[in-house]
């Protein structure tokens, strides 16, 4: 725009006024002519552009616009002057100006067209909108940032957890670029909160990545920054070089990476510091706007949420994975049931136990599939099913005595638990865990069998049994045990140990010893024990105990008590009996020896009898001949003597003294021979009769004959030394064993003879009364001492010295008299003699 030339004063005045007015206007006013030459400018134009009015007047308007607008302006200006179609005329448009100092600035322009004379002038009102633009830009940036944040935030929300790390790096990038930093990174606290680990980093182009090289930073080394982080404060470091001394480590760290300024924002989740996000400026010291700072803080929060979500989701995933693993690897069958009774899931073990695939189970009604029939074959109505009951009462149902059915229509005993599943307090189904307990049932049966056997054993034994654990507490016992101690079941049931022990100890003779032993035994759990327990009431128990072991380890002790009172008494009784028996045995032995002696004697006598018989027979033959011959001699001598008186015999011969003498001698000798033969015959007869071989049986005999025969046999003992004086009374025949009785006479007579050392007498007297006959044999011998007198009838007792007598004689006599129901009595006085009385019953 240019000023019109004015020659006149009036016009000069008007021009001056006009300029003054122009200069007061707050907008820049520029008038150009149709050649784009500036003709008028006001003060504001000079202010805006920095040129003086003089420098502008006469210049092309293009001077005031940046290069890029100049051609457009020329083209637009030309078009308008040629076509007259306004384009920008009358409107306000925003353009850019070029200041004298070269700075381009935004401006707002309104243009109007005037014609002064023939000159077409264009006037523009210009406003510098730099300030307004700046505000607008800031606003716009803010909106942009907000948009970015919203975008990042949204992105994070939708991001799957495994992409969160990438998301964070993207976000670091976005914000780094947005805030025009060189590097942005995240460091997270380790779980123990002791270290910061660099986890994410973004770098602008040309900036080295650092965090892969970074070692975790111990939080203790950077207390200055950590302190602020913990207070959830942003640490803003405009100039690293200006960091205070207490931030020495932080400073060194930054300087290592040539960081000039940085801003670090804590990542806090639920008031707990998780880590930090940091934005570093390497190339220049950076001044941060509050908006930026707010942005960074929000970033921190977003990261916190994202990281937290990642952690949670990972945890959940881990949990789910674990659940899955558990389900898969569970040794029990597990399946879920919805409220309709259909199976919602099942683990492989469940399928295996049912004998089908998992897929075959899902969606199927569990009761109809595997629970339709009871073990006894009756149908199992679903309304009774404990699994469904869990829906109704919300309780856990544990069942151990039912069966499940396999796909192949076989069943197996099962233990199962139906646990209701609640969601927000509402029951939505149930989880059933189950186990095939065939094995367990069998083991249980074996166990029950063992237990029943054990308890039957316990109850059937006569011993009291008590089982105690290592601490001496009662575990088990049998009725016999209670009975033995007189313990009532109520006391036992009360398990009152003290009362029990008191009751036990009260009964004992030596309770202290009992307690001491108990202690000893329990302190040596592996030993076996055996004690005798004596009771005050005289009972005696034997107590055995033995360690109860499980897997070689002592877990308690089994006590066994046996009432041996009866046995002990029996033993005492036995001892007593034994003593009595010994006495009896002694007696019997004596009797037996007597019998034996008698037997020996009888045997002897039998042998003797046979011998005698043989001898008698043998003797009788020659004796018979001899006797006959002597008889013949006697007869012959008579005959010859008779013949001698025959007259034919010469007298000289008949009267010859030689013949007479010879005849006399022969007759004498024959007589003697006959006497001798008769005596021999008599002795042999006596021998024979003494032995009475022909009369061994009971017989009625003449006692005197027996005495006489015996006397003949003992004659050699008495001859010329002992005078036998007989005083025989009249005796009836006595029923007896004559040979035995003869022995009695023989023994007594021989003893009497032996008692008489040199010469003496034996008196034999016989008499009888109504009941008995008596033979009294008295000698005048040396007599028997009172001491010996008591024992003379004992077998083996002898005073005659070894080898002389057998000592059996009188004992046999005694026995024979006993057998005859008679008796033998003895009286004796030393030096005076002895009298034996043999008394025999008559009938």
């Amino acid at each position: 725009m240019g000023m019109m030339p004015n020659d006149t004063n009036t016009s000069n005045d008007a021009a001056a006024l006009f300029h003054a007015a122009l200069d007061t206007v707050g907008e820049g006013i520029i008038t150009i002519d149709s050649t784009s030459t500036i003709v008028v400018v006001n003060q504001e134009v000079q202010n805006i552009w920095g040129y003086t009015r003089d420098e502008l007047i006469g210049q092309s308007i293009q001077l005031l616009m940046p290069e890029k607008f100049r051609e457009r302006h020329a083209a637009g200006f030309k078009r308008y002057t040629e076509t007259g179609v306004p384009h920008v005329m009358g409107t306000r448009i925003e353009l850019e100006g070029l200041r004298k100092n070269g700075a381009v600035f935004p401006l707002e322009i309104r243009m109007a067209e005037t014609t002064v004379g023939d000159r077409l002038l264009f006037t523009a009102a210009v406003r510098d909108v730099t300030d307004r633009k700046l505000v607008e830009a800031a606003l716009e940036r803010r909106h942009y940032i907000e948009d970015q944040i919203a975008s990042i935030s949204t992105k994070f929300i939708n991001l799957p957890s495994n992409e969160i790390d990438t998301g964070i790096i993207d976000a670091l990038c976005t914000i780094g670029q947005l805030t025009n930093v060189d590097r942005s990174w995240v460091a997270l606290l380790t779980e123990d909160k002791q270290y910061l680990n660099f986890t994410h980093e973004w770098c602008a182009e040309g900036i080295a990545l650092t965090h892969s090289n970074l070692q975790p930073i111990a939080v203790d080394t950077t207390p200055w920054a950590m302190e602020q982080f913990r207070r959830n404060e942003t640490v803003y470091i405009p100039r690293v070089a200006d960091l205070p001394p207490e931030a020495k480590i932080e400073k060194e760290n930054f300087q290592t990476y040539e960081v000039q300024s940085a801003i670090m924002v804590p990542i806090v989740y639920r008031r707990s510091l998780m880590g930090i996000v940091s934005f570093d400026s390497v190339r220049l010291e950076k001044i941060w706007t509050t908006d930026d700072m707010a942005l960074l803080r929000i970033t921190g929060e977003i990261f916190a949420n994202a990281l937290e979500r990642k952690e949670t989701e990972e945890a959940i995933e881990c949990l789910m994975h674990r659940n899955e693993l558990i389900l898969r690897s569970a040794g029990e069958g597990i399946y879920g049931v919805d409220l309709q009774g259909n199976m919602t899931f099942a683990n492989p073990e469940a399928a295996r136990l049912i004998g089908c695939s998992v897929e075959e189970l899902i969606g199927k009604p569990q009761h109809a599939i595997l629970h339709h029939t009871r073990s006894d074959g009756t149908p199992y109505p679903p309304e009774d099913c404990p699994i469904y009951k869990a829906f109704r009462d919300g309780a856990v149902h544990r069942i151990e005595d039912e069966v499940f059915w396999r796909k192949d229509e076989t069943s197996f005993p099962v233990a199962y638990t139906s646990t209701p599943i609640r969601q927000d307090g509402e029951i939505v189904g149930a989880v059933v865990t189950f186990k095939d307990i065939t094995e367990r049932k069998r083991e249980q049966e074996i166990l029950e069998n063992s237990i029943s056997l054990l308890s039957a054993t316990l109850d059937s034994t006569n011993d009291g049994i008590l089982v105690a654990n290592r601490e001496g507490r009662v575990v088990n016992f049998n009725q016999v045990f209670l009975d033995m101690w007189g313990i009532s079941t109520t006391v036992e049931a009360s398990q009152d140990h003290t009362q029990l022990m008191t009751q036990v100890l009260d009964q004992l003779l030596d309770p202290e010893h009992f307690s001491r032993r108990l202690k000893e035994i329990y302190s040596n759990p592996d030993t076996e024990s055996c004690d005798v327990i004596e009771f005050k009431d005289g009972r005696v128990f034997e107590r055995y105990s033995r360690s109860q072991r499980i897997g070689g380890k002592s877990v308690g002790r089994v006590w066994s008590l046996r009432d041996v009172t009866a046995r002990k008494h029996a033993e005492e009784f036995a001892q007593q009996s034994y003593n009595e028996l010994e006495q009896k045995v002694e007696e019997r032995t004596r009797e037996l020896r007597q019998k034996q002696a008698q037997l020996v004697q009888a045997e002897k006598m039998a042998s003797l009898g046979q011998l005698v018989a043989g001898v008698a027979h043998e003797i009788n033959t020659p004796l018979g001949a001899l006797k006959s011959n002597i008889d013949i001699f006697i007869r012959s001598v008579h005959k010859i003597k008779d013949l001698m008186f025959d007259p034919k015999v010469p007298q000289e011969l008949r009267e010859s003294p030689e013949v007479t003498k010879r005849f006399a001698s022969i007759e004498t000798l024959n007589a003697h021979n006959q006497t001798a033969i008769d005596r021999i015959v008599k002795i042999v007869n006596s021998l024979r009769k003494f032995a009475r071989l022909d009369e061994a049986e009971l017989d009625e005999v003449d006692i005197h004959e027996g005495l006489e025969n015996t006397l003949i046999l003992v004659q050699h003992e008495l001859k010329n030394r002992v005078d036998v004086v007989k005083d025989y009374g009249k005796l009836p025949f006595i029923k007896c064993y004559p040979n035995q009785l003869n022995q009695v006479f023989m023994n007594v007579l021989v003893n009497a003879s032996h008692a008489i050392e040199h010469e003496g007498k034996i008196f034999i007297r016989t008499h009888h009364n109504q009941e008995c006959a008596m033979v009294e044999i008295r000698d005048t011998g040396k007599g028997i001492s009172q001491k010996d007198l008591q024992r003379i009838f004992d077998p083996g007792y002898t005073t005659k010295g070894f080898g002389v007598g057998t000592g059996l004689g009188l004992s046999i006599v005694y026995q024979i008299m006993k057998d005859h129901k008679g008796k033998i009595e003895v009286e004796s006085e030393l030096g005076q003699g002895t009298t034996f009385r043999i008394i025999l019953p008559i009938s």
Binding site: H617, L623, G624, I632, S636
Partner: protein, 160 residues
């Protein structure tokens, strides 16, 4: 010796020569009987079979053959001959049994009285003699009877 036909013969058997001699001597000297002695049962039996004898005395206990057996065989040979056994005391019971079994006339116990022996032998022989006589009479009667029978028949025939 007297006529052998009238003098009775006594056979004596004992394994002991001693006894045989005593018995024989006594009988020879003090009785009128003829004696034949043996110490062997076999020879005795032979003799008894081949000769007329009137009485047999035998010992009981002999090594070759006991008296009971011997006498039972004698009975078979000469049933009418009285038999006497000579026994020891111990054999008395058996001897008595044998007497009944074998049908002995008597037994004589050792040592014997010669007088007893004489009486027993005489009695035995008398018995023998009586039996013999009885037999003769029976024979005579039988003969007479036979003659009578014949006569009777002749008479019957004569008158027939």
């Amino acid at each position: 010796m007297t006529d052998a036909v009238d003098t009775p013969t006594v056979v004596i058997l004992d394994d002991e020569e001693l006894v045989v001699t005593s018995l024989q001597t006594f009988l020879d000297l003090e009785t009128p009987y003829h004696t034949v002695t043996f110490t062997s049962a076999k020879l005795a039996l032979q003799h008894i079979r081949d000769h007329d004898i009137d009485l047999v005395i035998s010992d009981y206990l002999m090594p070759e053959m006991d008296g009971i057996t011997f006498l039972s065989q004698v009975r078979e040979l000469k049933p009418d001959v009285p038999r006497i056994i000579l026994t020891g005391y111990a054999d008395k019971e058996n001897a008595i049994k044998a007497i009944n079994q074998v049908g002995l006339f008597q037994y004589i116990e050792k040592p014997w009285e010669n007088e007893d022996l004489r009486v027993i032998v005489r009695n035995g022989l008398e018995k023998m003699q009586l039996l013999k006589k009885l037999q003769v009479k029976i024979n005579e009667i039988t003969l007479a009877h036979a003659e009578l029978q014949t006569l009777n028949q002749e008479i019957v025939r004569a008158f027939a």
